[in-house]
Every structure is written in C-alpha cells, then in structure tokens.
C-alpha cells in the first residue's frame, strides 16, 4: 500500500472536494477539543462540566456519520437529477457534488438536531453514575446538539423559583419570539 502524503491529499482534494470533507473534519476536532476545553474549565462545577463534555462529545459523534450518510444518500440520487443528452460523466459528477452539499445542509439543519433529540437521553443514561448530574434536572431544554442546554442557569429550569427571564426591551434577534 502506497503511503499517503500531503501532496497526494492536496491532489485528491484538488480534483474533488466534497462539502462533507470539511464538515466531518471540523466535527472530529470539535468532538476532541470542546470536551477538553469544558473539562479544563476550573470555574465550572465538576458535575455539570462532565455532563456538558459528554454531551458535546456525543453530539459530534452523532454528527460525523450523519454528515457522511446524508451526503452519500443524496449522491445516490444523482442519476435522477442529471439531465439526459449531455456529456454524462462530467454532468453526473457535478450533480453528485451539488447533491452531496445539499445532503450536508439537510444534516446540519434537520437530521443532526433531530437525532440528538432522540439519542441524547439514552447516551447520557449510559454515562450516568452516582457522580454525574441528572440530565432531567440539569436539562429541561431538549437534549440538543451541544452544551447549550447545560448553559441554562439552573434557576431558569426550576418551576419553584420566580420567573427570571424578563421580556427583553429590544426586539428579538433573527425573528425569534422571546
């Protein structure tokens, strides 16, 4: 087996650089670095940072196969999206690349958040032990993508405490209803 070096990697990506390459690379590094950063934060409570780190790692672990799977699935439909009567090789290749990108977009927009919603409670249960924080207590928000839910102050999640969030005096960003 020939050794893959930097020149070969560049030549391969120069010939075809699917959108899934970069998003998977970013997801891999996010999966490594974000839990590391979370765990190395000395200001945070040890229980909640362990919980946040597991959540961040699991999110990226879900994201990697989702990006790859959706890109490949979308590419699979390329022949249906290719016009007939043109130079089939080049046209098919163009269609595959464009569809692959749409697959990645679908994964980012719908598939990953959806899968995280479904899978995260089970994943967190697997890691749950005496020391860990109960996800139901720390996270009343959907067990989403990353540590955003854990970033919610606990007082926001308690029904017993008085309502903390006051209506912002400025219009909400991006059309979100606050």
């Amino acid at each position: 087996m020939s050794k893959l070096n930097l020149t070969d990697i560049c030549k391969t990506l120069g010939a075809k650089n699917g959108a899934e390459n970069v998003v998977i690379a970013v997801a891999i590094f996010k999966g490594i670095f974000r839990p590391l950063f979370t765990m190395s934060d000395k200001k945070q409570d040890p229980k909640s940072k362990k919980y946040a780190a597991i959540r961040e790692g699991a999110t990226e672990l879900i994201a990697i196969p989702s990006y790859l799977g959706m890109a490949k699935l979308a590419e699979h439909f390329a022949p249906k999206f290719s016009p007939k009567g043109k130079e089939i090789g080049q046209v098919l290749s163009n269609t595959k690349t464009t569809l692959g990108f749409f697959g990645v977009c679908t994964a980012a927009l719908i598939v990953i958040p959806g899968l995280c919603n479904l899978a995260m409670p089970s994943i967190l249960k697997l890691f749950k032990n005496g020391d860990s924080v109960d996800p139901q207590k720390t996270n009343t928000v959907n067990p989403e993508i990353n540590s955003i839910a854990t970033a919610v102050p606990k007082t926001f999640q308690s029904v017993a405490t008085p309502p903390i969030i006051s209506k912002p005096s400025v219009p909400s960003a991006g059309g979100l209803r606050i």
Partner: protein, 213 residues
C-alpha cells in the same frame, strides 16, 4: 412510484458553476453555519417537553453562538487560510520539481482568470447600455466556465487547488473547533445580558453560566 424531476432543477443541480461553488470550503462552511443558526435554535424552541423560559434562553443563546461563529468565520478565516496556504505551498514546492511546476501552472491559471475579471470590469465601465453589459457578462461567464473546466481536467491544476482547499479546511478547524468557542463567550454574555436573559431575580441566586456554549 416514478418521480420525475423538473428540468430547471436538473439543470441547476448539474451546473458546473454550482458544483464549483459548493466545492469551495469557505462557501460550504459559511452556508452550513447559517443553516445551523436557523436549525438549532428552532429545534430547541420547538421542543414541547422543555420549560418555556429555559428553551427561550437556550434558543437565543444558540442563535447568538452560531451567529458569532458565522461572523468570526467570515471575518477571520480568509486571512488564516491565506497564511496557511502560503506556508503549505512553499512546503509543497520544496518537496519536488514536479510540485514546483504544478504550483506554477496553478498560479498562471489564476492569473489568467484574474486578468479576465479585470478586463470584464474595465469593459463594463465603458459599456454604454444595459444590453451590452448583459452580453459582456454572459460572454465572460461562458469563457470562465470553459476555462475552469479545462483547468479542472488538467492534473497539474489539482495540487495548487488542493493546497488552497486543505488550507481552508485547516483554517475552518482552527476557527470553529478551537477559537470560536473561546471568542464567542465574551461576546454572547453581554448580549444576553442586554436582552434581559441574565437578570438576577429578587432573592434568587442565578447559577453561573458555563463557559462553553
């Protein structure tokens, strides 16, 4: 069941310009980040099981985080990419004489494209009416399209193109996996406060917000 795809959709999907555009790492990641900015907060907000106040807080924070990531990405990544690309190309050139030739070919190809763009701009300035401008633009895009596909088919072009994409991927990783989580926190925190999401209620202790978003 047989589904027929409309011809305009087929033409759009198979267009070489679109294929070229989505193969550009910077464009692909920028679009993906914008989609995350819309998708993730929406999923949080639409979760019926969550506490309404908590999900408002989380969705706004996620929106701000992705927005900050997008801003930082667009502002800083081209510069980081340029820096990495310079170093990488120098490294590749030093590896073999063939690499040097390939990079020179890539540079020449880019020069040709840049000259064509400059010529189009100068012609557009001198063009008198809209029709002439339209003809100039379509001629330019046709010629550039043909040239680009010619370059793409040439294996000499791949090394230089690949080096720029590898640099863009490295810059994206550096920004989105390492720098953005660190840089976003000091930006989001004051904005959340300004939006009234960090108000300490009477007699209630507000828990510290973890550093990572």
């Amino acid at each position: 069941m047989k589904i027929s795809i409309p011809t305009p959709v087929k033409n759009f999907m198979s267009k070489s310009t679109n294929s070229e555009l989505v193969q550009n790492t910077f464009v692909a990641v920028s679009i993906e980040t914008v989609l995350k900015m819309a998708g993730r907060p929406s999923f949080i907000y639409l979760d019926k099981k969550a506490d309404p106040e908590a999900k408002k807080y989380a969705s706004v924070k996620e929106f701000l985080y992705q927005g900050t990531c997008f801003g930082l990405y667009v502002a800083l990544v081209p510069k980081i990419k340029h820096f990495i690309s310079g170093k990488l190309i120098e490294n590749l050139k030093g590896k073999s004489a063939q690499n040097k030739l390939d990079i020179a070919y890539f540079d020449r190809a880019n020069d040709v494209l840049a000259k064509m763009k400059a010529r189009l701009n100068s012609n557009l300035k001198t063009a008198t009416n809209k029709d002439a401008k339209k003809v100039l633009k379509s001629t330019y895009s046709d010629s550039v399209g043909k040239l680009k596909s010619m370059f793409k088919e040439n294996k000499k072009y791949h090394l230089g193109k690949g080096a720029t994409e590898v640099s863009a991927i490295a810059a994206s990783i550096l920004m989105l996996a390492i720098l953005a989580p660190q840089l976003a926190h000091p930006i989001i925190h004051p904005v959340m406060k300004a939006l009234g999401f960090d108000k300490k209620p009477d007699g209630a202790k507000v828990a510290e917000i973890p550093k990572k978003v």
